[in-house]
């Protein structure tokens, strides 16, 4: 990140009010040390009687300080009631804070805590011991204050307050109204000063109880430096300004519990997030750090650790010439460059936007998503292909925010190239990705193309087709024995998944595990085709065998989906609060053809069926029929919509339930008498 000069001489010139004024602060609504007897005596929390603990009050306040450069001060007071034994761990607190080598830092100050117990008809108060507050260095930048409250048992009320002073004004502290235990009252106050503007985003569904903004005239203490000949001296004064006092409060917020098939649970917690969008000191031109999308894009392109890295690609000239040698058309050049980066840069697994030195990363042949794909972008440009970096919020990072530009909401960079009017989204981090396909982590709504002048959103879809196709020719014997040859074909994401699985285990172990198909089935002669030929479908071929009984049976029962039946409904719960995200469309086809034994007649066969969800969001078809004396079973599943709202959950669950039932149906053959 760039360092920002914050206290500029304008202070001295203009905004000075001479003399010392006492800063005025609003009264605290929640005073430390004043839990009520009711709170001490309460034994359950009525709105959620199962709660192990409840946050009675949680108050956060952010304000700006101007005595040591510009700082953000965050103060929190929280009061928690312990209701059950499994709520005791609420008495342990972790407060992370950040420090940089250049001296900019966050500091945790004024940590105070109390435990209150109701004993023999009166309140007994214990103070958090300084010795129970530990400081731990996590790594070069992150530190943790760890503390544990004394005398905590079921029934205790605990209170904690602390203040964090931060030199980083770029990120105003976020506020989570919702926690893993229910919250009775949660409030955040921010005193915005006129020089900074922040984008804010609200997450979650719980409504605000209070949402208010008041303008107050405030006088704050200021310190700045004056040049006095060869040295500088500190000057003190105060500053009067209009402060917008924001207040957000929620009450009776239920506990947050995540659900499966949710790409990012964090997106659904009720919270507020902020990011600096504009800095404007009096008498100076505004500086947009993001603001609207156009200035966001411009700033990024100028940013030394992003666009700046693309500005001086001299070191790439020779490489490009080598990589595209002999290629004339743009598409071929583009493919060659992607291949080159895939083979010559190793992704270190990190999701990053910025890099401080693209060249160094290239020299090490290793780097983050930013380094791998900015290099790809630079090489494409050098090869004469129109290319731009594209910002992505990966699936774990949460959905991208389309209405407010916040760089912190993105965590990944890919390249967006354009040839012959067609866009290609390219990521060179994965060896197994065919050209034009994106890894699963990137398939998350839209990405922002950082392209002068204004940039644009593009949907994050690869050009690939996702498909899984299994076909087999099998023979059924009077003993019930089944033998045959199966072919499985994979394209797109299913191919990527299978290739990655094979690579992770090694082909030999993968086959060894694959041969073991459960108690009934044996797979033999497994062959894998096109493991390295990424543009072709990945193919598995093998013989499938089930031993029969010793003697011929009068009735033969056959589950025609073999080992490929959908055995269980993946959606077990009857209700759901959050959406379901499949991430990619699904296209699965199974075609099995059976030679039936001589002397047997078809007694029963599953009926053909077709199930469709509204708008063709998902479709399942199943056909069992006799074709030229052979039995043919075809099952097809298509899910074209990838994101289902909670309101659609019930029908999706029913859809799967019917498919499971269909796949369980049997074919019955009877011996002719």
């Amino acid at each position: 990140m760039k360092t920002k000069k914050l206290l500029t001489p304008w202070l001295a010139l203009l905004w000075l009010v001479v003399g010392m004024a006492t800063p005025s602060y609003a009264d605290d609504p929640f005073k430390l040390g004043q839990p009520t007897p009711e709170e001490l005596k309460m034994t359950t929390y009525a709105p959620d009687t199962s709660a192990a603990a409840v946050v009675l009050y949680d108050l956060g306040e952010s304000s700006f300080l101007f005595t040591k450069g510009t700082q953000v001060q965050f103060r929190r007071i929280v009061r928690i009631k312990i209701l059950k034994k499994n709520g005791l761990d609420q008495a342990d607190f972790l407060v992370p804070y950040y420090r940089q080598a250049d001296g900019k830092k966050e500091e945790v100050l004024n940590v105070k805590g109390f435990t209150y117990n109701w004993e023999n008809g009166q309140m007994v108060k214990m103070k958090l011991d300084e010795k129970a507050i530990f400081d731990e260095k996590q790594n070069a930048n992150w530190y943790l204050k760890k503390l544990t409250m004394p005398g905590v048992k079921v029934g205790s009320v605990i209170e904690l307050t602390y203040t964090i002073k931060s030199d980083f004004i770029k990120l105003l502290r976020e506020w989570e109204f919702q926690q893993t235990i229910p919250v009775k009252w949660s409030e955040y106050r921010v005193g915005m000063v006129p020089f900074f503007e922040y984008s804010q985003v609200k997450y979650g569904v719980h409504p605000f109880h209070i949402k208010d903004a008041k303008i107050e005239r405030k006088t704050v203490a200021v310190t700045w430096q004056d040049d006095v000949g060869i040295t500088k001296i500190d000057q003190r004064g105060s500053l009067s300004m209009s402060v917008v006092q924001y207040q957000w409060a929620m009450k009776d917020v239920p506990a947050f519990t995540p659900e499966p098939y949710l790409s990012n649970a964090k997106d659904y917690v009720s919270k507020l997030e902020f990011e600096l969008s504009k800095i404007q000191y009096p008498d100076q031109a505004p500086r947009f750090t993001s603001g609207d999308w156009e200035s966001f894009t411009k700033e990024l392109l100028k940013e030394e650790e992003f666009g700046g890295q693309l500005a001086n690609p001299a070191f790439l000239k020779k490489i490009v010439a080598e990589a595209v040698a002999g290629k004339t058309d743009s598409l071929a050049k583009m493919k060659a460059v992607v291949e080159y980066v895939k083979n010559n840069m190793r992704w270190d697994g990190k999701h990053r936007i910025y890099t401080d030195n693209l060249r160094k990363a290239f020299d090490n042949r290793q780097g983050s998503s930013s380094e791998v794909n900015l290099l790809l972008t630079a090489l494409l440009r050098e090869a004469g292909v129109e290319a731009n970096p594209m910002l992505v919020s990966t699936r774990d990072n949460g959905r991208p925010l389309e209405n407010s530009p916040m760089i912190s909401k993105f965590d990944y960079v890919i390249a967006c190239a354009s040839v012959g009017g067609k866009n290609y989204l390219l990521d060179a981090t994965e060896k197994d990705l065919p050209f034009g396909m994106l890894p699963l982590r990137c398939l998350n709504g839209k990405g922002w193309v950082v392209q002068a002048p204004a940039g644009k959103w593009l949907p994050l879809t690869g050009v690939e087709k996702n498909m899984q196709m299994v076909s087999g020719r099998l023979k059924l014997q009077p003993t019930g024995e089944v033998t045959g040859t199966l072919t499985e074909n994979f394209l797109g994401v299913p191919a990527l998944r299978t290739r990655s699985a094979i690579r992770a285990k090694g082909q030999e172990t993968y086959i060894k595990d694959f041969v073991n198909a459960g108690p009934d089935w044996v797979r033999q002669g497994v062959k894998i085709h096109n493991l390295d030929n990424l543009q072709e479908s990945l193919k598995k071929e093998y013989e499938l065998n089930r031993t029969g009984d010793g003697a011929a049976a009068d009735l033969l029962y056959l589950a025609p989906m073999l080992t490929h039946g959908q055995g269980e409904n993946p959606f077990k719960l009857t209700e759901r609060q959050f959406p379901i995200d499949f991430s990619t469309p699904v296209d699965e086809t199974y075609v099995f053809t059976y030679d039936l034994p001589q002397g047997y007649a078809l007694e029963e066969m599953p009926q053909s069926a077709s199930i469709t969800l509204p708008g063709n969001a998902a479709k399942f078809t199943y056909v069992a029929q006799m074709v030229n004396g052979q039995l043919q079973v075809i099952s097809k599943l298509n899910i074209s919509k990838t994101f289902f709202e909670p309101s659609e959950y019930a029908s999706l669950r029913e859809f799967y339930s019917r498919m499971v039932a269909k796949h369980a149906e049997k074919i019955v053959l009877k011996k002719k008498s």
Binding site: D48, S50, A51, A52, K85, N86, L88, D89, A91, D92, D129, A132, F134, E136, K137, Q138, N139, A140, L144, K146, T148, P150, G151, V152, K153, V154, A255, T257, E259, R346, N364, R365, Q366, K512, D513, V515, N516, G518, P519, D520, L555, Y557, G567, E568, N569, K572, L573, T574, E604, M605, P606, S657, V660, A661, A664, E665, K666, I667, V668
Partner: protein, 637 residues
């Protein structure tokens, strides 16, 4: 053709390297391909030297050269140096070489990252780790590391095992221990091709072990842990000192004496608490009830908070501190509970143990610190009561998968004693289930399930009763109920008071219980306890076969059938016995009812490698029998 040229070139270079003689080369191609087959990394050399300076301090120097053959091998060339308040890192050096063995870089201070390294459950500790990754752009490459640590914590001597993971080969590795005059080394060797050698060199007694050309070791399903199969030397002190506390480890008895010293004087209690305990217990005659009352007093007053600093990793907080703050770790809470029981006139022993379901066996013949946990042992006339003092919810006396069936070092006034905790048979860990199902002609059904879980099988549910909210409990039940399609209409989970037992009632809707094909209904009568995983067939099993847990499951399912159906095909009764366990299942029609009964009993046991196929076949037959179907056909009238 090109390949052959390279091969030729390589062999020429290899020749040159051999010529050079005294300068060692770590070019990757000098590795014997027979050795590196199946390996991701090859340890070219590893030299561990442990020098004991006195009973108070020692240094360990490790030099390792590792060739990384592919991406997966990278992790084996990661340098990880742990340290803490009592153990300092003296230096770390590192160099990286390319495929040809040419130096390609050196480790810079800025490449070494420093992290805190306390376990998940620890609030605060002083364990830290320095981590460095040296890598080269192309495989294979070789890294060389050398580092030294000096410790003043002499409770632990090294445990040397040059192969620490699968897919790693070793060209050569050596372990040397230098002992000063007057201090004896104790050691235990395992799977070594040749025993160690001892020599007197000047003032020092020098012990040396060496291994050469170790091919990668592969873990097999239901086999021993890797660590129990590889060459290893475990060492331990005789006389030692840590933070001013001296002891000897000659026997379990003397190790216990050392812990007596650490714990001495830490059992004082405030007068008020003593009075509370006396008042609480004075009217209870039965000693077991007394123990229970004191244990519950402790459970209600305290909670588990792990703080491990320096000697605090082995010495408990004082009982007065636990009493005033209301928290402590396993040592502090056990020590506190012991002090409380003393007031009540019940003697007990601080019991050091290995806590964990992986139940690493204690080497009984090698007294040393092989533990990670402390509980309290209360000897009784008939059976001993074991107290897990870190739990606010456990029943007094329950050990289970965390501390049962193993040895514990009791710290008694006479010193240490190794004592066994309770063992479990299959009949201690049961799951007994009775199900009533009402089925209609469309294949839909409703079911009532009643299950009683005991022993180790009750632990999972006992945990969710204690720590999950009802909606989470329901989700857990959905996740852990194995039926292809079902809905839980109602559930009830109840922990039986003072017994290791949970009762579960489920009311189920089973929309697709039977698969309908025309006039037939297909039912898998084993509703919800099907064995599905069978380990892969292996023609040449090498290692022992270990079945990890004893249990006994009984399922009886009664289906009320729709009218007008008769059995067309019924599975035959199955009865199988093996060295690992016994299984039987049968299904019958009785009037309008289909009755299924299944029993599976497995025994914790260890067998020789040739028994492996017996296990595979047994599980295969169980699994097949569990999936057998009944076919009902509508009677055509």
């Amino acid at each position: 053709m090109q390949k052959r040229l390279i091969a030729l070139l390589l062999s020429l270079l290899a020749g040159a390297a051999a010529w050079a003689g005294d300068t060692p080369t770590y070019a990757a191609f000098t590795i014997n391909p027979a050795l590196s087959k199946g390996a991701d990394a090859v340890i070219r050399t590893e030299e561990t030297t442990f020098t004991v300076h006195s009973a108070k301090s020692a240094s360990q120097k490790i030099r390792a050269v590792v060739t990384v053959l592919n991406e997966d091998g990278k992790k084996h060339a990661r340098l990880v140096v742990r340290y803490d308040k009592l153990e300092k890192v003296d230096f770390i050096k590192g160099t990286v070489y390319d495929a040809m063995g040419k130096k390609a870089g050196t480790l810079k201070a800025s490449d070494i990252k420093d992290y805190s390294d306390n376990g998940e459950g620890t609030l605060f500790g002083d364990n830290r780790v320095k981590v460095a990754v040296l890598a080269h752009v192309a495989y294979p490459y070789t890294v060389e590391y050398e580092y030294q640590t000096t410790t003043s914590n002499m409770l632990f001597y090294p445990f040397w095992y040059p192969i620490s993971a699968e897919k790693v080969a070793v060209e050569q590795a050596s372990f040397q221990v230098n002992m000063p005059a007057g201090l004896e080394l104790r050691y235990k060797e395992a799977h070594l091709p040749e025993p160690g050698k001892v020599a007197q060199e000047g003032n020092q007694k020098v012990y040396r072990w060496q291994v050469k050309a170790l091919a990668p070791v592969e873990e097999e399903p239901y086999g021993p842990d890797l660590i129990d199969m590889v060459p290893a030397v475990k060492t331990a002190p005789t006389a030692f000192e840590v933070e001013g506390y001296a002891g000897t480890m000659q026997s379990w008895q003397t190790l216990g004496e050392f812990h007596n010293k650490l714990n001495q004087g830490r059992d004082q209690l405030p007068e008020q608490t003593k009075q509370q305990i006396l008042a609480l217990t004075k009217d209870i005659a039965n000693p077991k009830e007394k123990i229970k009352a004191v244990y519950q007093f402790m459970q209600n007053k305290t909670r588990y908070v792990s703080i491990q600093l320096g000697i605090g990793g082995w010495q408990p907080f004082e009982a007065t501190m636990v009493d005033s703050k209301g928290y402590g770790d396993c040592k502090a809470l056990s020590n506190y509970t012991k002090a409380l029981l003393d007031v009540a006139g019940i003697p007990s022993h601080y019991a050091i143990i290995y806590g964990g379901a992986d139940n690493r066996p204690v080497m009984k013949d090698f007294p040393s610190r092989q533990f990670n946990h402390v509980v309290l042992c209360v000897p009784m006339a008939k059976d001993t009561v074991w107290l897990e003092c870190t739990s606010q919810t456990d029943d007094a006396g329950y050990t289970g998968s965390n501390t049962g069936d193993r040895y514990s070092l009791l710290v008694t006034p006479e010193g240490g004693k190794l004592v066994a905790t309770p063992r479990f048979t299959a009949l201690d860990n049961t799951q007994k289930r009775a199900v009533q199902v009402k089925l209609n002609a469309q294949g839909a059904a409703t079911g009532e399930v009643f299950t009683r879980f005991t022993g180790i099988q009750h632990e999972g549910r006992s945990h969710i009763i204690q720590s999950y909210k009802p909606d989470e409990q329901l989700k857990w039940l959905y996740r852990n109920t194995q039926i292809p399609a079902f809905e839980i209409k109602n559930y009830q989970l109840e922990k039986v008071k003072d017994e290791p037992q949970v009762k579960e009632k489920l009311q189920l809707v089973l929309p697709k219980l039977a698969s309908v094909s025309g006039k037939r209904l297909f039912i898998t009568p084993n509703l919800m306890n099907r064995w599905t995983s069978v380990p892969a067939v292996s023609a040449n099993r090498k290692q022992d076969v270990i079945w990890p847990m004893s249990f006994h499951d009984v399922d009886s399912v009664e289906y009320e059938l729709p009218a007008g159906y008769k059995a067309e095909n019924m599975p035959k009764p199955v009865k199988i016995a093996s060295a690992f366990g016994e299984y039987q299942a049968q299904v019958q029609i009785q009037g309008t009812k289909l009755i299924y009964v299944r029993q599976l009993t497995m025994h914790k046991s260890r067998h020789s490698a040739e028994k492996y196929m017996e296990l595979v076949n047994f599980l295969k037959q169980v699994s097949r029998a569990d999936q057998q179907q009944v076919v009902l056909a509508a009677e055509t009238t």
